[in-house]
Symmetry: C2
């Protein structure tokens, strides 16, 4: 069976020409677009279809007021300018859904239940991080510039936006349309000899 | 500035129609294609451009003989049939490269050095997992079917293929062209109300 390949325009939009944006125009991003990003991002695989990623889109003034003080100071102007900011979190209680999402493994929910949140954290974080990668490319697929940021108080953002103890925030992602000065010079990638080997 | 969007064919190839393959034809995948997958996967972002992912492609009989016993028994026939199997690992000593990959932050290498491998493991795993997500979609962009698997002895695969203690294997991915019976019934995705919220 022959599978389709991604054409040059698609490769440029998602991989080779897309860049991390640091500034944004005030053109809004609709909730419909934000929902559509997720509709696309949900499809690539997770282990045993566990799908632990959760997304909160911050796009109101009130939401920004709650978020901005919890970001590293240098990141605040970026998120203030972005019409939407996605908070990507892993749900440590993802196992509640496995009777529906992975019905082919009897007892799976119970064995995950026994592990507790600490025991499930590795699986939640790994698969949630995979999904964060899918999410960034799905946003680019919608013509959005993405600005992922690791500089924030993860415990504080978790407490403020995902209270209750079952989530852990992984990444904060600015979303919008790039301003004229959105891009910095592209940083180098590793030589492939540093990355690849063959066995 | 208006960014390009991904067209319907591209969305189908990477997200909506692509599926995890469980069986493969014997059509080979060339080393040139495997290198090209990485050339594409290297571009999406990592925190401070740290790029911790490393890839070993197993595609010889000798390599398969080393790998197969370290996989969960149910996964062995899949990797045996796959013309190539990618081992995706995080390099805990990624900081050695930051003077080249992130020259704009003086002292970054030294502060990461002080953290030791345990201190760097979270950053290596998170960013390596993001890159694993990019890698899967980059393989699909090349018309390859992907079969990511979490069922393997991670410590044993790390020791066998990434000896020395600076790596940790994150994911094993079968790659190839799908056989006629490659696909199982698609498992359900969560209702978006379980995933999305707005603030």
């Amino acid at each position: 069976m022959r599978l389709p390949r991604l054409d040059a325009a698609g490769r440029a939009a998602l991989f080779t020409e897309a860049r991390t944006a640091n500034t944004f125009t005030d053109e809004p991003v609709t909730d419909e677009t934000l929902r559509s990003v997720w509709e696309l991002a949900q499809w690539p695989p997770t282990a045993a279809n566990t799908q632990p990623l959760r997304v909160t889109y911050v796009r109101t003034g009130e939401g920004k007021d709650r978020l901005l003080p919890l970001l590293a100071e240098g990141n605040r102007p970026k998120s203030e300018a972005a019409p939407a900011v996605a908070l990507l979190a892993a749900d440590l209680d993802f196992h509640e859904h496995v009777p529906v999402t992975f019905p082919i493994k009897p007892g799976f929910r119970e064995s995950l239940e026994e592990q507790g949140r600490d025991g499930r954290a590795g699986m939640a974080r790994f698969n949630g991080s995979l999904q964060a990668g899918y999410f960034l490319l799905a946003a680019r697929a919608h013509g959005l510039a993405t600005g992922p940021m690791a500089g924030f108080d993860a415990d504080a953002v978790t407490r403020e936006f995902f209270p209750g103890g079952r989530h852990t925030v992984l990444l904060v992602v600015n979303l919008g349309h790039p301003a004229g000065d959105a891009w910095q010079q592209r940083l180098p990638r590793l030589d492939s000899a540093e990355v690849l080997s063959f066995a």
